[in-house]
Symmetry: C2
Subunit: 207 residues, 2 copies
C-alpha cells in the first residue's frame, strides 16, 4: 500500500477521501456512514471515489489503521526511569491535546469499540493489551518503590483514557453544559489542569 508509486493527483485525492471519511465515520459509525456522503465531503463523485478505494470497508480499514498508531505513542513514551508525576502529567497533557486537536479520530475509535470492535479486536487483544500490561507494570514498579500511592495500575490507565477522551467523544455534551467556556483559547489548559490535578493529587505519597 504505502510503497505503490502514485501521481500527485492520486496522492491528493486519496488524502481527501481519507479526511472526508474520518468525519463521516466518526459521526455516523461504520454502518451509518454512506459512500455518497464521503464522496460529497471529499468533493468528488461516488464512482470516482470508488476508483480509488474499491469498497466502503476498504476506506474504513485504511482510516482506522492510518490513525491508530498515533494514539499509542504517548503511552509508549512513558519512561520507567522518569519521575512518575512528570511522566503521568506528560501523558495526560498529550492525551488532552490529542483529544482536542483530533476529536474525530477519537470518536471513530469509540464507535468501533462500542459496536464490539469487529475490525479492531486483534489490535485490542494484541498490541494494545501488550502495551498496557507493560506500562501497568511500570506504574506498579513506581508504587513498589514508594514513589506513588498504591492503586490498580490498569484502572489508573483506564481513568486517564476515559477522562481525556471524554472531551472529544462527548464534546457536544461538554459544550452544552459549559457553554462558551468550552472550546475557547484557554480551554486546553483548563482541562489539563483539572484532569491532571485530580488524577495525580490522589497518588501523591504523604511527606
Amino acid at each position: 500500500m504505502a510503497d505503490v508509486k502514485r501521481s500527485r493527483i492520486q496522492t491528493e485525492n486519496r488524502a481527501a477521501i481519507l479526511a472526508a471519511a474520518l468525519e463521516v465515520f466518526s459521526a455516523d459509525g461504520y454502518r451509518g456512514a454512506t459512500v455518497d456522503r464521503i464522496a460529497d465531503a471529499a468533493g468528488m463523485s461516488k464512482p470516482n471515489l470508488l476508483y480509488y478505494y474499491k469498497s466502503k470497508e476498504e476506506i474504513y480499514r485504511e482510516v482506522l489503521e492510518s490513525t491508530l498508531e498515533g494514539w499509542l505513542e504517548p503511552l509508549a513514551a512513558m519512561d520507567p526511569a522518569g519521575d512518575p508525576f512528570v511522566e503521568l502529567d506528560t501523558y495526560i497533557r498529550a492525551k488532552v491535546a490529542m483529544a482536542l486537536a483530533r476529536p474525530a479520530e477519537s470518536r471513530m475509535f469509540a464507535n468501533e469499540v462500542q459496536r464490539g470492535a469487529p475490525l479492531m479486536r486483534d489490535f485490542l487483544e494484541g498490541r494494545l493489551k501488550t502495551l498496557v500490561d507493560e506500562k501497568a507494570a511500570v506504574i506498579g514498579g513506581w508504587m513498589d518503590r514508594g514513589l506513588m500511592a498504591r492503586t490498580d495500575p490498569h484502572h489508573l490507565i483506564f481513568m486517564i483514557w476515559a477522562t481525556t477522551q471524554h472531551y472529544a467523544d462527548f464534546d457536544t455534551q461538554v459544550q452544552a453544559i459549559l457553554g462558551a467556556r468550552a472550546g475557547g483559547p484557554g480551554f486546553e489548559d483548563e482541562v489539563v489542569t483539572a484532569v491532571s490535578g485530580m488524577v495525580l493529587s490522589g497518588l501523591r505519597v504523604g511527606p
Copy 2:
C-alpha cells in the same frame, strides 16, 4: 402515550420492541440500525413492528426518553447537607452499578452525543445543564466550607461520568485488556474501589 389503554399483547409487544431496539441502536447507532434487525430481535415481522410504532425515529425517541430519566436520578439525589465523601462515593457507586447493569443504555446515549445529539440537544442544554450547574454549586459549597479540596466542580462531574461510563461504553476494550478479570462476580466492587479511591483520595483535605 402512557395513558392509552392497551391489551396485554400490545403491552408485551411494545416492551419487546423497545428492548430489541435498545440493543440494536446501542450497537449500530441511529443511522446504522435497521427496522429489520429490530423486528428480528423482537421476534416479529417488520410490518408487524411498524403497526406498533409508525417509524424508526418514533421507536428511537421512545427508547431514548424512556431511559433518560433513570440516569439523572443518582446525581439528583446528591444531598447538599450530606458529607461530601459519602455523597460522592454513593454517586460513583450508583453510576458504576448502572454502567455494568445497563451498558446498552449508556452506549446508546454515547452514540447520540457523538453524532451531535440531534434529538437530545434540548435535553443537554436544558434539564441536564440545569442539574449539573446546580450540583456543581453544591460541590463548590463544600469546598467553600473547607470540607474538600478545591477543584473545578464541573470537571469533577465530567470525570465521574467519564470514568464510570467507560466501563459500559468501552466494555469490549476493557475485556480485551483485563481478560477474565472483567465481568466476573467481584468486578463491580473492583471498579468501585479503584474509581472511588482514585477520584476521592485527591479531594481529601489534609489533617
